[in-house]
Symmetry: C2
Subunit: 208 residues, 2 copies
């Protein structure tokens, strides 16, 4: 049996909270779930149309009211707002009951570190430094979200779910940071060892 796409259900899940346009959808998804689920426009727009075809979402076209240069009443800009249908809600509920698929691990940084040789550790060291930075920022971001959440003006319909997911990211991030710090020390040692080996080799076969 072929694995069903999860993108349409991620979209349905967001639409269930409130109707949205494709653009707003991506923003909402990135803001709320971006730390554990990423989608690009290239998936969202086709998926929305396919949801509409399947009768799981309804499309409503709106016109902008905004600043007019000319004398027109309505704006020229169109916005396609999608809302979930009862059939869509059923499909979403069914999907939510199925066990999540676990993706095979794909960590290119670790692969490169594993496959790399001991004489070229400068590049890996830079990558780890970069990861440390990214994860530190991510952790700060997630912590801010967790704090802001309970006091937010429009409290989320299922706050505890969200906190639970964010907590996972928080812990993963913490672990990654600790690993980066330890690994940077190891890489430093390896760098020094490589330098010593180079010096020794040079002494044996001196330049010019």
């Amino acid at each position: 049996m072929r694995a069903a796409a999860t993108t349409p259900f991620a979209i349905l899940g967001m639409l269930r909270m409130a109707p949205k346009s494709g653009y707003a959808l991506r923003r909402a998804l990135a803001d709320a779930a971006g730390q554990f689920w990423g989608e690009s426009y290239g998936q969202i727009y086709p998926a929305l149309r396919s949801l509409a075809r399947r009768g799981w979402a309804r499309r409503r076209t709106e016109r902008s009211t905004g600043a007019r240069r000319d004398g027109e009443r309505a704006g020229r800009r169109v916005r396609h707002v999608y809302e979930i249908t009862p059939k869509g809600e059923e499909a979403l509920t069914r999907w939510l009951a199925e066990p999540p698929r676990i993706a095979p691990p794909r960590h290119e940084l670790l692969l490169k570190i594993y496959l790399g040789d001991r004489d070229t550790v400068d590049a890996p060291a830079a990558w780890v430094r970069r990861l440390l930075l990214d994860e530190t920022n991510r952790l700060r971001h997630v912590r801010r979200m967790k704090e802001a959440l309970p006091r937010g003006t429009h409290a989320h319909r299922s706050l505890r779910h969200w906190l639970m997911a964010l907590d996972f990211v928080d812990r993963q991030s913490e672990a990654a940071i600790a690993w980066c710090q330890r690994s940077m020390a190891t890489l430093d040692l390896m760098q020094e060892a490589a330098a010593r080996r180079r010096t020794a080799a040079q002494r044996r076969t001196p330049m010019e």
Copy 2:
């Protein structure tokens, strides 16, 4: 610019350690790097042929010597052993110097938890229990690997790289386990709350 496939380089990296057949390759990859990099046969065989076409690997056909029923000298089973070429080594070195790509996060369990509603927490609870089991096993496995590594008969050419990668997995696993334990408690509370809500609703509109 389109992202280059990483699969051929993962293969080249393994071939650089020693020539291997497709089957042996998958095993070696799964054994050594399976915790952070997974490949399936469906990718490996086509990738090997493409590597041979590009001149990055050479294919050698071997015949089995094994148990013979009939009178034949050589076995009937063919084995295609691939070895890396100098051109392949260059390509691998170039690839290893490039910064690793970071995949957009895709954690279906977290997405389902986030999108789920507060009255159906039984399924998520089961998934988290399952994850706890899996991660506990994974951690045990990784710890055993880390311990066995330095004392291994054929010590790996770059042991520290491997340990570093495994250490990442170790820490991620630990974090996941802690999260599972905490989340199971939360889900229990939510389950009870849902049960209370159901009872209250039943009291208002009693059955029969």
